[in-house]
Amino acid sequence: MHELSGAEPILQVKNLKKYFHTPRGELHAVDDVSFEIQEGRTLGVVGESGCGKTTTGRAILRLIEPTSGSILFDGMDITSMDKHRLRMIREKMQIIFQDPYSSLDPRMTVSGIIAEPLIIHRRVSGKKELARRVQKLMEMVELEDRLSSAYPHELDGGRRQRIGIARALALEPKFIVCDEPVSSLDVSVQAQILNLMQDLQDQLGLTYMFVTHDMAVVKHISDEIAVMYLGQIIEKSPAKELFRHQYHPYSRALISAIPKIEAAGADTATILKGEIGSPIEPKPGCRFAPRCDYCIGKCLSENPPLKAVGPERYAACWRAEEM
């Protein structure tokens, strides 16, 4: 229905919150996050550990129940769906996991793993068709046919990640959450998988939400990037733009901290003081304030909202314009 209008977002996330109860208090893993993704595009979600990027991804698929907020997929509100309708919608939304070692059932064969979604959703009516579909999927992710009866532990990380991708693609989804899909792979294999993912996006018109901590990877694969810090999006920008100029001091520090090959020996990193704070019952004010060199009085009392600071650019900082 929406395929014709490219401007229509396929996914809209509004005021998403996910709090966990811990013995030490309420943990604000995701705290009021809103964004949308256009069909066929890639949103990169980047941040350091504990920033809530993974939780956001899982909450969108309701693998974790959101505390509040709404998630609209193709115009349908996922947050209020019952179990039955949720199972239906999962044909359209899938996930690829970080660890190709733990995301595949060690007691199933490669073909068994890829066939499972087709069986769950009764997409095929016989063994022959199932075999044919599995074979086609394996072809799609460039997995050798002879591996169909192998077990995951017999394969390397790259091939395992291909299985995970094939499994996610089996139901022909429109949208895929990619949770650090290349982080545990060696660089040469990582490049192979990134290329594969880009090819599949072009062929199948997929929409990606690409969650990662790797700035270079996120820049490479995304159209748009959201930077998260302690449960909130603090800057959102078209990918290439973000690396030219940052409106939020955290994004700036993050990008400057990436060790670059070109600048060998020349240490240009802006070193942030301290470490990431605790997401448990955060204090009022900007969450980044305690580490921020630009911190002013207002930062300690009021949390800045994410607001437009330029064309297609958003930042959550009281002093964004000065940056």
Partner: protein, 331 residues
Amino acid sequence: MDELLLSIRELTTQYITEDSVVHAVNGISLELKTGGSVGLVGESGAGKTTTAYSIMGLLPKLTGKITGGSIIFQGKDLTKIPEDEMRKIRGNQISMIFQDPMTSLNPILTVGDQIAEVLEIHGTATKEEAIAKAGDMLEMVGIPRERMHEYPHQFSGGMKQRVIIAIALACNPKLLIADEPTTALDVTIQAQVLRMIKELKAKLNTSLILISHNLGVVAQVCENVAIMYAGRIVEYGPLRQVFEAPMHPYTEGLLNSIPRIELDKTRLSPIRGMMPDPSVVPPGCIFRPRCPYAEQECAVRAPRITEKSGRNVMCLMHEGIIANKMRVDHA
């Protein structure tokens, strides 16, 4: 100070198990001057960590074995000296930092005790002095000395790695081996730790072997770089030269594989195929099956180390046996 501190010659290390022999390190040679630094770069299974363990004498007792070559450290061959003597060097003259700070500290001893311990072992201090010095070390790595009475679980990952660095540097070692010291850390914490390592290295005039799969990290810290592939150093030279104009097809492939923030690439050019099985050693060049420039000769003749304008490379193209098809300006 330009004297030679460490000289590894034709080092070969194997893991021998019931079922197979894993050729982890296959005759590597490497030299390091006092105060110098070298980065060991490669993908998993390249033999980087095994090289470090061979130097430290920490190979697993039952399986790991140095089967050839020598490691000359300050005139002594570490592969020949008895364990007692090696123990006096370990932690004292050669120290090591490990990849995972979360598990590398003893959970039931305070961090102060763990730093003081290394000082006591090497007889540089009495108990009281050791504890006082442990506090100094903590301060040196940017942790308040009051925290020396706390246990590891009270520290974050970045802080633990600082404690481990404090342990490693407590005896002012001549050589520090850092094995993926920042891989488990976040980018901003990585930047803190890398800068600290660099500063302390300069201050204490320590030589450094930095092991990493991250080319950027090595680029930040090291003067020289050794690119490892399947237990061999396939290319060695001054870091900038190697990264700007790689001579070995693997180095080139590696540089082309990584997405870089400085370049607006829309597509990566990965190395095809996989790392070979380390328990099988085929004849010829080990990189041949994945090499875009390979010729028939590469399957039968093993390349030797060729020295060219201060750089070493292990490829038949540079021995003049096959034509050099690499463009120098890869980027």
